[in-house]
Symmetry: C2
Subunit: 258 residues, 2 copies
């Protein structure tokens, strides 16, 4: 196996794990300014800067997010952010320049820009996460807050042409979870063409299955966790995800059919 | 203004700029292993590891991507990756476990998983980008390769339940572009509720407009570039983006209406 290179940044990236318990200490003003500015310096598709963030500071809103996500630790996170994809700001700018934003020619509402704005929000979120982790903080990315998109829209007064993407909770870690295993690199990286031979998957996933089993067993031998393939099969038929998708995008002004 | 904190990682994130000219030097095997492994350690929604990457090494395929993206430098990038969202691998695993992957109960094909798999691909791509930059390499993220999604699918033999997300070109920088300005933090970060007052946008974007103008003027005083608001208005009516959206997702097996 090829030896990996190391520096401070690479060690931060290789040691990343989700932290779901935080010490009750606020982030300093300098820390907040630093991680937010790092987020702003991520790349942005066509320089449209098409994302925004809600800093959730109000305890009632934190409690609401914890309830929506079904995870009580969300309410106790020292810093809590909700990233949204945002073409509202660009719509205002374009309208001011005389663009007919209600007509068909207005393309910031279409699926490509929706998708790229989502990507830009995620790039910014990951820059924030990495900056925070480099400062010794712990983070967890929150997809579960999308359980109730209409309520998020109401809670944060999200206007037309915006849509929630992901949340992130940040604070000083109050736990030290082990690093979760990753599958063999050959299963995720392909040279020039995708290898879609099912036997390739089943043969190679077996090793990963064992590693995931050992991870859970070492972590808590008394609580049996299904193997990776059984976990995946369960998630493949999870109907709760049907509430979390693009269904509310049309109400927010987007046209994802084009 | 609050002073920012600094360390190696934060400096990498704050100094990020897109590099579009590379020296003709391949990446070492150690570098490749390091940036690819860093990508794998990014967070993954519900631990589904639902992304894959095509390493584009074949010159004909590099040329094809440069043609699709309309950017000749793509063909000369020492390392070129195409990230895809990937529920194919999970489908194979679930099918092996007896899940009826052709029925309605199979939810890996729905919009929430499509969207989260896309996010996971972007998290991994940004981890790779940051790792590469920390090693002194330059990167540019490529949305333009989505100009011809059917051709990408054919070129890389992408199976059902996969979809291209973004490309990234990586190499030793052969240019030193200035840092592109970012808008005021108050325009992107909101406390608890989104500020959708149009006057708030127009008032605050004016400062950014001037900064963007100065940036382009210093870079190349002989080529006038429109101000940020005019640029944004032009992009808001760009109809070429209509080719780049979700249109081919159904053909790849996804059901984005649910």
């Amino acid at each position: 196996m090829t030896a990996l290179l190391h520096n401070e940044t690479i060690d931060v990236l290789l040691n990343r794990r989700s932290i779901r318990a935080f010490r009750d200490e606020p982030l300093s003003e300098e820390t907040v300014a630093t991680i937010e500015t790092a987020a702003q310096h991520a790349a942005s598709s066509q320089y449209l800067n098409d994302w925004s963030v809600i800093r959730v500071t109000d305890q009632e809103r934190k409690d609401a997010l914890a309830e929506i996500g079904g995870q009580p630790y969300i309410a106790t996170a020292p810093a809590l952010y909700v990233f949204v994809l945002d073409e509202y700001r660009n719509m205002v700018i374009a309208r001011e320049q005389g663009v007919d934003v209600d007509g068909d020619a207005f393309t910031l509402k279409n699926s490509y820009r929706f998708s790229q704005a989502q990507n830009d929000a995620v790039l910014a979120l990951h820059a924030m996460e990495t900056a925070a982790e480099s400062l010794g903080l712990g983070c967890v990315i929150l997809g579960s807050i999308l359980n109730d998109i209409p309520r998020l829209i109401e809670l944060f007064e999200l206007p037309k042409y915006t849509y929630p993407v992901l949340g992130i909770a940040i604070g000083k870690p109050a736990q030290e979870p082990a690093l979760k295993p990753r599958m063999g690199r050959g299963l995720q990286f392909f040279d020039d063409v995708y290898n879609s031979d099912p036997a390739f998957v089943t043969r190679n996933i077996a090793v990963f299955n064992d590693e995931v089993h050992t991870y859970h067993d070492l972590r808590d031998p008394n609580t049996p966790v299904p193997t990776y393939d059984v976990q995946t099969a369960n998630k493949a038929t999870d109907t709760s995800v049907l509430e979390r998708g693009f269904d509310h995008a049309a109400a927010q002004g987007f046209d994802l059919d084009h």
